[in-house]
């Protein structure tokens, strides 16, 4: 991309990088980026090593054409080839089917009858979670596999069995994990999308709310330093490194994917760079901690498993706290006034309980920062990435992504309100 149409303003300094968006009907450089442009963006916006790999891979494969989803039979063939390489002894596979849920990854369910080295003859319901060619988030299956393994004794998660991080057996990187039973939202809930404005009954709130808060505290106080988390960069405490990586990741995605320019996004990115907080305590972060990403047993009022760890990283707990308390994911109690975090816990109670369970304090200034960062990120994906993925036909869920764009604007509305708060 060398033919930039804009000459520099004569006095205002130039930004370090700026590739303007192009008209809908034009040949767009982002559809087939040159290596030099990919590298230029990488240089300006350094991110964690694993995310650098994922984003670079995305850009390098972008011009390869639209995505062709495997048929059920083809997927079955990949599963058998994978199991032949990973299971010792005889095995059989049945109940193969596509699964729904989420807006980005392919999920394929099956039942495996096999001899587990630890348990002997076993019958397990398993899930293959695999990338499409491109999705809403370019995330790492290796990282997802590592964190699910590491944190299995801390909070309920699916058992992780195997991974194919390079797409050696499957057409794209994949992990295989255990199927967890449970509901993503209450049977009586009439909310729009799983996790968006979920309405829990008072009884379920009383049962699930404390677990919701306690699990977050447990994740944030988990001692990750001796865990096998090779794909995670470890930010230095006492620096702004962790925040910069996350800001850069979003800025990089905006530069790589967008189909339109938005001055608001630029203004917010400036603010975020100017106000990066210093990390006081490096925690494991779930990255998408909210209703819709845990399953629960409605009869027992018990959370059965936390899913969707793809945005997990090591960083500032306020990022998860700000995400969990997003207006988009919560709902109002029966009084029409009390905001319930993820539809479960009144906000102040959530903060009080969290501090009590974790022993970690909550800094309003840092919470404010991460509210801005989260809403910024929540604009980048739905506006920029969905456009590019759908334009190029890169996923099995393009129709879902078309609709996801609509989530960006309530976030943008919140963002403008949050920016008006003073700290």
């Amino acid at each position: 991309m060398t033919d930039v149409k804009f000459k520099q303003s004569s006095v205002l300094p130039s930004p370090d990088i700026f590739y303007p968006a192009e008209a809908e009907g034009a040949k767009q450089w982002r559809d087939a980026p040159a290596d030099a442009d990919v590298q230029a963006i990488r240089n300006i916006y350094p991110v964690e090593d694993e995310f650098d790999l994922m984003l670079t891979r995305k850009m390098q494969r972008r011009a390869l054409g639209s995505y062709k989803m495997p048929t059920l039979e083809e997927m079955s063939g990949y599963v058998h080839a994978f199991l032949n390489a990973h299971v010792k002894g005889e095995f059989s596979v049945k109940d193969e089917c596509w699964l729904t849920g989420g807006a980005s990854k392919i999920q394929f369910g099956f039942t495996l009858d096999w001899i587990d080295p630890e348990r002997g003859r076993s019958t397990d319901q398993l899930v293959v979670r695999m990338e499409p060619a491109e999705s809403l988030n370019a995330t790492s299956r290796r990282r997802e596999f590592e964190i699910i393994r590491a944190i299995a004794d801390v909070v309920p998660v699916p058992r992780s069995y195997w991974m194919d991080p390079e797409g050696q057996w499957f057409p794209e990187p994949a992990i295989v994990y255990g199927f967890i039973t449970g509901r993503a939202k209450p049977s009586m809930d009439r909310s729009r999308v799983s996790g968006i404005g979920t309405q829990f009954s008072p009884q379920l709130r009383a049962e699930l709310g404390p677990q919701f808060t306690r699990h977050l505290a447990a994740i944030h106080t988990y001692d990750w330093r001796n865990a096998d988390l090779g794909s995670f960069n470890k930010p230095k405490e006492g620096t702004t490194q962790a925040s910069l990586w996350q800001l850069n990741r979003a800025r990089r995605v905006w530069e790589e994917d967008r189909g339109e320019d938005m001055p608001l996004v630029e203004s917010v990115a400036n603010w975020l760079e100017d106000n990066m907080p210093v990390l006081d305590h490096a925690s494991i972060l779930h990255g998408d901690y909210r209703a819709g990403n845990f399953l629960f047993n409605e009869d027992e009022g018990k959370i059965t498993g936390w899913l969707d760890w793809e945005r997990c990283y090591i960083g500032d707990r306020h990022r998860d706290l700000a995400w969990a308390t997003s207006r988009l994911f919560g709902s109002l109690a029966e009084d029409g006034k009390t905001f319930l975090v993820s539809g479960l816990v009144p906000e102040q109670q959530f903060f009080d309980d969290y501090q009590r369970f974790s022993g970690l304090d909550i800094d309003p200034k840092r919470l404010h920062y991460f509210r801005v960062l989260n809403t910024y990120q929540s604009m980048v994906g739905p506006i920029a990435s969905t456009y590019r993925v759908v334009r190029l036909g890169k996923s099995h869920q393009d129709i879902v992504l078309v609709l996801v764009e609509g989530a960006a604007y309530p976030n943008a509305h919140d963002l403008l309100n949050i920016l008006e708060e003073r700290y």
Binding site: K7, A21, E24, N270, L332, I399
Partner: protein, 181 residues
């Protein structure tokens, strides 16, 4: 509508809901079932919005033109040249004043104007703080109008808990001066 697009979309929706959807449901393919429902949903959304598409484009361009003109004025008051922004803002106003401007022309000038304002905004981290603050205030003020029309545009998709707080598209467009052109 004489071109019968709405009729055609209605037929597609009926076909999906009454023929294709039930047939797909019998296969037990949950992914296909989910996407069939979303197809119908998106076509219904399109039916509600297709006649407003040009008005929305003009409204957003008008807001960016206001934004560009105000930024231009601030830069000029600080003796900062902004030739590209000046040209893009003037061209955008000409396009808005021309009732025969094609959708492609509206789109192209909109792309140029948004890009130049965005480039200037990104460069503000290195600018004089007072000027930066004033320009960012302009960006935020007009962005609110743009965000609001997009919230209104997506209102049938039901993203927001407090639906009454989401503005109505028709109300926004009715008050916009761009409709008179």
């Amino acid at each position: 509508m004489s071109d019968r697009i709405i009729n055609g979309l209605g037929a597609c929706i009926n076909s999906i809901n009454q023929v294709i959807g039930p047939a797909v449901e019998k296969t037990g393919d949950s992914l296909a079932c989910e996407q069939v429902a979303l197809l119908a949903k998106y076509l219904e959304f399109l039916t509600q919005r297709i006649n407003f598409s040009r008005d929305r484009t003009r409204y957003e361009l008008q807001q960016y033109t206001f934004m560009g003109a105000e930024i231009l004025s601030l830069l000029s008051a600080n003796n900062i040249e902004a030739d590209i922004l000046s040209t893009a803002t003037a061209d955008a106003q000409l396009c808005l004043d021309n009732p025969n401007a094609t959708n492609q022309e509206l789109d192209e000038i909109s792309v140029l104007l948004k890009a130049e304002i965005s480039r200037i905004t990104r460069s503000l981290r290195k600018a004089e703080p007072g000027l930066r603050k004033l320009i960012e205030q302009v960006v935020h003020r007009h962005s609110r109008a743009i965000v609001d029309i997009r919230r209104a545009w997506c209102k049938p998709q039901n993203w927001e808990s407090d639906k009454d707080a989401v503005p109505e598209l028709e109300a926004i467009l009715k008050t916009a001066s761009t409709l008179s052109v």
